[in-house]
Amino acid sequence: MRDAFAAALTEAAARDERLCLVLADLGVGVFDDFERLAPERIFNAGIAEQAMVGVAAGLAQAGRRAVAYSIAPFIASRAHDQVRVDVAAGAANVTLVGVGGGVAYGYLGLTHHAIEDLATMRAMPNMTVLAPCDPADARGATLAALSLDGPVYLRLGKNGEPPLLAPGTSFRIGRATRVRHGRDLTLASTGPILASAIGAAELLARDGIDAAVLHLGTVKPLDTDAIDEALADTGMILTVEEHSVIGGLGGAIAEHAAQTGAGRVVRAGFPDRFVHEVGGRDHILARHGLDAAGVAARALSALGVEPPRSSPVGAGGLR
């Protein structure tokens, strides 16, 4: 996803001479093409994330469009006040790119995990929050962000994510993508963890459960039409996210459903604890029931279905 983002960014920079890139000493090799294209529009603030975001806001105030890039927590947490006051309140044309959203930087530990970023970014007025799921989606989200007026938080995984959406799927801000039709419940996810939702739907199908899958590449503004439709069609949404259960996609959908009173929302995500578990992303996700088997088990328990003994879910899913 990172390379897809960088390629799209360079394309946009070739078309839009206002576009500048501000770094905080991260991204070795990632922006070589941008560097070749427009070395005068790339700036390294040093290991100084607050300055990076402030500088991006200043460039935007002067009529530029600026992209600030770092590991997700160093954008969303470290530079939070600059994001809030200078970027969000200023409605600046700044795209804040957080790489390694969720627990993509597994072994590097909690300082490198971002499991509260969707909540804090979503709570900011003016902020659009995007979390694409695969490289093509990341490309679409990048181009969409860079043609939008106003601030965007773009949450990426790392690199090497498999393609998940059908080729040619277009990215539209505020529009969810239906990945799979189903009758019994809807698995709604955001970001690369869509892979777990798709895998869970396949496991559930073996148990005779027909799960729909919805990808929300935009967390804010929420595609409330898609949510309403999913609740009308299936009665229940199980949200699946690489994020705390507080305030992210699950929070957003639950808030909306509470207002309309339509259907039930169950949230799968990280509980209200820091992830101290040492491990790679896959290990951490599995330990928190966020792999395909864990999500399927969660769906069965939400539906009140006892997993059949023969089921792969029943064999190892419930923890």
């Binding site: 070795v28 072994y107 530990g109 300082t111 490198h112 578990e277 040492v278 290990h283 330990r287």
Partner: protein, 272 residues
């Protein structure tokens, strides 16, 4: 039995750090090798810990702010007997293990959850203030990277420490001259860095960060003011094919590199 001298311990820290990186396939090798001498002098000579009680709590406070060099700290703690070496070798950066790539608070001898730069010095200032309040005569050491001094929080804390005259606070800057996107340093870079500390009422000592006698002297000294030890180091020190190389931050070694790497480390020691 007293532990071996600091030179020998520095080699052991390097060897164990390298073993950990080889075992888990992790990066940041150059960062860990570069600070091995500083850690050896601190943990085996300067910080008052009873050598006959290797598991005893460390009396002085040591904060590793450049926590990407965490494998060196964990190695020093294992050699000191504060944590279990066999467990460290088994579980470093393994799924479900006890030790991640950035050491976390909760592991004995690890004071902060590191990995986000610019956090160590403010915490060290807080610890030093608490010691002063409680009349504890111990030192607080904070080791950070030179690139880390880009962070504004370093200077916010430095100004406060200078204003309060925290004379038992020692900040060690691991001056290896490299950072993430590797910029060329100005000729007077180090003088300017030193003068920034001096401007906030710190005393600055500039030394070779691999010279144990110089380290002993610099880390023990200082009265009346907080002290900055600007320790010039070579990233990847001790492993010739990584020494002074920018990519020693990012590169990981594979199991088939094992013999070559350990042999190179041994040979470099003999040559030195």
């Amino acid at each position: 039995m007293r532990p071996a001298g600091s030179e020998q311990q520095a080699f052991e820290i390097r060897r164990l750090s390298l073993e950990l990186a080889l075992g888990a396939g992790t990066c940041h090798i150059g960062s860990s090798l570069g600070i091995a001498d500083v850690l050896a002098v601190l943990f085996f000579e300067v910080m008052p810990v009873d050598p006959d009680l290797p598991g005893a709590p460390l009396r002085d406070t040591f904060i590793l702010s450049k926590a990407h060099a965490g494998s060196a700290l964990l190695s020093a703690l294992a050699l000191r007997g504060t944590i279990d070496r066999a467990q460290l070798e088994r579980e470093y950066c393994r799924d479900g293990g006890a030790f991640g790539g950035h050491a976390e608070r909760g592991t004995p001898g690890v004071e902060i959850s590191g990995g986000s730069l610019g956090h160590g010095l403010p915490i060290a200032v807080g610890r030093a203030i608490a010691d002063r309040l409680d009349s504890r005569h111990r030192r607080t050491y904070c080791l950070m990277g030179d690139g880390e001094t880009d962070e504004g929080s370093v200077w916010e804390a430095a100004a406060m420490a200078g204003r309060l005259g925290l004379d038992r606070l020692v900040a060690i800057v691991d001056a290896n001259g490299h950072q993430g996107l590797d910029r060329k340093l100005a000729d007077d870079h180090w003088e300017r860095l030193a003068s920034r500390f001096e401007a906030t009422s710190w005393e600055v000592t500039e030394i070779d960060g691999h010279d144990h006698a110089a380290l002993r002297h610099a880390l023990r000294g200082g009265e009346g003011r907080p002290r900055c030890v600007l320790a010039h180091t070579v990233k990847g020190k001790g492993l010739p094919f990584m020494e002074g190389r920018f990519d020693s931050h990012y590169r990981s070694l594979r199991p088939h590199d094992r013999e070559r790497a350990l042999t190179a480390l041994e040979q470099a020691r003999v040559a030195a």
